[in-house]
Every structure is written in C-alpha cells, then in structure tokens.
Point group: D2
Chain length 135, copies 4
C-alpha cells in the first residue's frame, strides 16, 4: 500500500482545447490509463478480469483539483497511490505532474468500486488482487 | 433514397484543439450523431436494433475532406443522404455546414455495414429498415 | 442565484465505453456543455467573452459522484445551479439526470475561475456578468 | 521517403464504445499521435514549429478503411509512410496493426497541409523539414 506507481503520458492535439491547454476532462483519461497500467503491472489485465473473474472496476467518485494548465507536447507523469482497499471499493491518490518543471497540473482522490459487469452491483475484490495491491 | 436528413450540432470546448479550431476527428463524431438521429427519425433506435434485431451498424470506410476550420460556438448542420443500400451495406453522403455563412467545413462519403454485434459478421439489412430508408 | 438551468443531452456511441455504459469522463463534457449554454442563456457567449472581455472560464476543482451508469440512447438533463460567485471564482452544483426514470447518474460541485486567456491569471468577474448570474 | 515510422499505442477504455470495440474516430487520434512522433523523430516538435516557423500541419483529407475491430488492451503499431511532399502539402500512408496477430485494423491515405496558424492559408513547407522527410 506504500508503493507509488508512475506512468508517462504525452499531450497531443486530441488532448487540448482552443483555450490552448489540456481540456480538463482529458486528465481523467490520463489518470485512468495510469490505473489500468498499475493493475497490469500487478498482473491484472482488465480484459482478463472481465473474462475470468467477471468483474470490472468503475470510478464512483473523484475529488479533483486542476491546478495548472498542461500544454501541447508536455510530457507528464501520472502517479497512482493506493490509500485504502476494503470490500468492493478502493481509494487512490493520483497526481499528474509535468516532467520538465515538476509542476503538479492536476491531483485527485479517486474512489473506485469492483462491480459485476452485467448489473453493476458491488463485488468483493478477489483476495489475490487485494494481496497483490498490498504487497 | 432522395430525402436528405439534417441534424444540428453546436461546437463546444471539448470539440476543439489548441490550433483554435475543431479537432479533425470531432467531425466523425458529429457525422455519427446525425446518422444515429436519421435512423431514429426512420423509427430505428440503435439500442432496440441491437436488442430486437441483434444487429449494429459499423462504419467500414470513409473518404473525408476537411475543407474549412470550424470554431468554438459554431452552429453546424450535419446532413445525411443515403446513396445506396444493398445486402449488408450502405453508402451515405454527409456534409457538415456552418449555419452562419453556409460554409462547408467537412464532407464525407461513408460506407457502413450491418453486422452481428457478437462476431461482427455482415448481416443483411432487415427489409423493414431498407424500405423505410427508401421511402 | 436561485434559478436552476437545464440542458438536454443525448448519449451517443462516442460517449460510451466497452463496459456498455457512459465513460466516466464523458459526464464532464456534458456538464461543460450545460455551463456553456447557461452562460449563453444569460447573454454571454464564450467566444465573445474571450474577444471583448479577454477572459475565459476554467474549471479549477470538481467533487464528483458517479452514482448510476448511463447508457446508449439515454436522454439526459444536465442542471446548473449557481451557489456562489465571488471575485474571480464561482461554485456551481450540477446534476446529470436520466429523463426516462429521473435517476441521478452523476452529481458534482464545480469550482470555476475567470482567468486571462493569455497567462491564466485570475480576473475579477465583470459586474455585468455577476449581476446577470444573480438576477 | 522510403523509411516507414512506427509508433506503439495501447487501447484503453477511453478508446472503446459500447459495441465492445474501438470507436471508429479513435483511430484518427492514434494516427495523429504517430504523425506527431514521426515529426518529432525527424527533429520537429509541433509547438516549436508553431513558435519558430509560425506553421502548423492540418489534415485536409483522409481515405480510411476500418477493416477489423480493435479491442480493449490491444497493443497496436501505427505506421507512417511519406508518399509525397510538394509545396504546402504531403500525402502519407498509415496503418494500424494489432501486434498480437498482425491484423490490420485500419488503413488510411492521409493528406496534410502546412498552414499559417492564424489564417489557415497554405504555407510552403520549409526546406529543412522537406529534406529531413526525404532523408
């Protein structure tokens, strides 16, 4: 629960808006990529989790601060830090930092739940996953 | 096969990029909204088509010209004109026109296919749909 | 400060993901459309605000709950309720509700700031805008 | 003009739709990332080109075939092959191939133009860029 995971993201035209900066919803995509790669690094692929375990992770709440504007061509590092995992849900702390000057562009507290992909009801996280997350 | 369908779209920040104009892939989203509303106007909802007929439409090819840049707040009219429908596929002509000055921003020839949502194999278009399209 | 603004949004393929539901970041796009139309209804177009007043609104923080999944073809109503406006910033309450069953899919407390589009420094909201917002 | 450039892309939830596959407009984003990285590999950053040379590249036409559906977690390789560069425009051949089975998911002939970012008028490609492209 103490290891922070990092994932690199580059800002392309698709991520920006006519204000000249990264469109605010784009940071949610970046943070989701980092969570996906964090799970993959722990050995859990989203498609396998769906196929073998019949479960998916969904975001249930986010408390986000957009602190500084990101720009085209910026190289960003997105962090994932597991703060709590209990039952069907977990809380993660995430940050998006610009590599060139270490400016924090965006930070968020993300609550995610493990659900059945059919009815979206909460499903207790498999022990194998929890123990990998806590390792 | 001769009636042209029209659908209004507004350009928001989400549709633009830091070049100050509509991001090129955004026009594909606008054209897909118009096709969906054209089908809905003919009486075919995409979710019902999936549920009752077990079929979905997918785009198989597009020949697109991006002729002029669209901008934030522009009101656009997206047209759909069925050119041909045969077997499992159809060809549509679509244009994206800015209302204020009737400038054509984007035009495309779109080939779509009717497929089984499970295996993506071609499925002959139901006669009810073809006859509505040709009415 | 008491009038709630509403804006209709339709869910298209572009808004969904392979979980079969609306992609979570999509709700931020829907909420931004509603804020833009709320400003437009008050008489303030984002492109004019930029051109004449040299100011843009940016989102600085969001506290969001994703409560129920939205689906393809859903008709949604997005609300905007101004809670507070002071200096260069304002706080809005927003909800995304499915029309068919009045289910709340998403709700958020959104903090936005008025900034100079050049350097992104806070700019006091023009009195004309504040008085329209409070009318 | 003979060297093919390759760029790796991963499919995330953001790229898919409720049909269970990559949303068709998503391939345009993937192809634009590869073109940006191709230019970067040649020594031309889009933000520098805008700042120093006062020019941007825009896509003016695409002829695309969506041949097979991509899926969540797929690893893709996007290619860029310059076919022609003349005056203010260039023609590129691009493919999106799934790494696991070498299936071509999407292929396109892309016409791009070099324009002034202010008025979007064509600007002859700087010789330094053309010679790097042809090297």
């Amino acid at each position: 629960m103490t290891r922070e995971f990092h994932w690199k993201v580059r800002v392309y035209y698709e991520d920006t808006d006519c204000g000249g900066v990264v469109y605010h919803a784009g940071y949610l995509r970046f943070m989701e990529r980092a969570r996906t790669e964090w799970l993959r690094a722990l050995g859990f692929h989203q498609d396998q989790m769906r196929g073998e375990h019949n479960l998916v992770f969904i975001v249930t709440a986010m408390d986000i601060q957009f602190t500084r504007p990101g720009r085209l061509d910026d190289e960003l590092t997105v962090s994932v830090l597991l703060e709590e995992v209990r039952g069907a849900s977990m809380v993660l702390e995430q940050q998006v930092v610009r590599d060139s000057d270490q400016t924090v562009l965006c930070s968020a507290r993300v609550r995610a739940a493990c659900v059945d992909p059919g009815d979206f009801r909460p499903r207790r996280l498999p022990k194998a996953i929890v123990s990998e997350m806590n390792a």
